[in-house]
Symmetry: C2
Subunit: 191 residues, 2 copies
């Protein structure tokens, strides 16, 4: 993104680091999911971005162009699917923060959704990347809920991840082998 001399970035709230596309977590997860599908291991997809469409043009028959639409707040997490007959559900977020993960990144509806999935015996988790540290963690939904229920802080300190989450290595294929950790969860919980 180039800005004219004198202007500056106003996207101060955005946590996504566009300066380094190769490091983009969403891309890494989408490629990992594609890989899992290609070897018939799991069918996990990113849900489309929820939007409200308010105006559609039909410049020609069978060709629709959306001319006005708005982003909606998601009521669920971004990723879900099936693995080993189990319902898998997770949210992925990255932060440029070094010391903690701001909980404002996860909507209240999404936390409620994670609780619902756990109660109904699905496997729910977060994948969190600290972009500047180049560290990616899988935090089980149960650990997220535990933290929220027992802390008033608006962010989860990095140290909590060190103690309670699993570090995911950057690999070639899949880029992030998060199902290896899901295997461990399923083994421990005998889910």
């Amino acid at each position: 993104m180039k800005y004219p001399a004198g202007s500056k970035t106003v996207f101060t709230k955005k946590e996504i680091d566009y300066s380094n596309r190769g490091m983009n977590l969403e891309e890494d997860i989408n490629l990992s999911n594609e890989y899992y599908r290609s070897i018939d291991k799991a069918y996990i997809y990113k849900k489309p971005t929820p939007i409200q469409i308010t105006k559609v043009d039909y410049p020609s028959r069978n060709k629709a162009v959306i001319k006005e639409a708005y982003f909606l707040e998601p009521s669920t997490t971004d990723y879900n699917g099936i693995y080993k007959g189990k319902y898998i559900d997770f949210e992925a977020k990255q932060t440029s923060n070094n010391t903690s993960f701001p909980l404002s990144n996860i909507h209240k509806h999404q936390i409620k959704h994670i609780e619902n999935v756990i109660r109904h015996k699905g496997v729910a988790f977060l994948i969190i990347r600290f972009t500047r540290l180049n560290e990616t963690y899988l935090l089980e939904g149960e650990k997220l809920i535990d933290y929220i229920n027992n802390n008033t802080k608006k962010s989860i300190p990095h140290s909590y991840f060190l103690k309670n989450a699993t570090l995911l290595k950057n690999e070639y294929r899949p880029r992030i082998d998060y199902l290896k950790i899901v295997d461990e969860i399923l083994e421990v919980d005998k889910k």
Copy 2:
């Protein structure tokens, strides 16, 4: 929708009957899913419509308006979620046809997706409404795949539904109690 005198509807390919909103299948299913969530029975959601966003305006800080976007072909089915610890996945379609359900309503990707879900031990099915007959059926994924593999026809005759699918009653709450049939499937398959 009102058209000026002399004009006529060009949406001849659309199967959705907008003239009777109360009969809309998508609405019935969304309300049923809301009801299931409200009684903590199942967490099944409709996925947002997949679109490709090509232009976004930011008229003010934190307010984005999509100014150009296009509909994409879905790679999965529209509905998925969790029920009794099981992965649930289905597509819902209505047809104004009286004698058969045109398979052109289901994309190839979606059929492949249903096969994948079955192979990985999820519960996959179609909910099909014949709007003029006011009949709604749940057709198990396995029966859909069977039909496709053993027939060259481009549509599934109504008689196939009579023999192989389960008729869903219109009720008050939930509008369509499709999980009752899923219970039977789970019981038979001991999934």
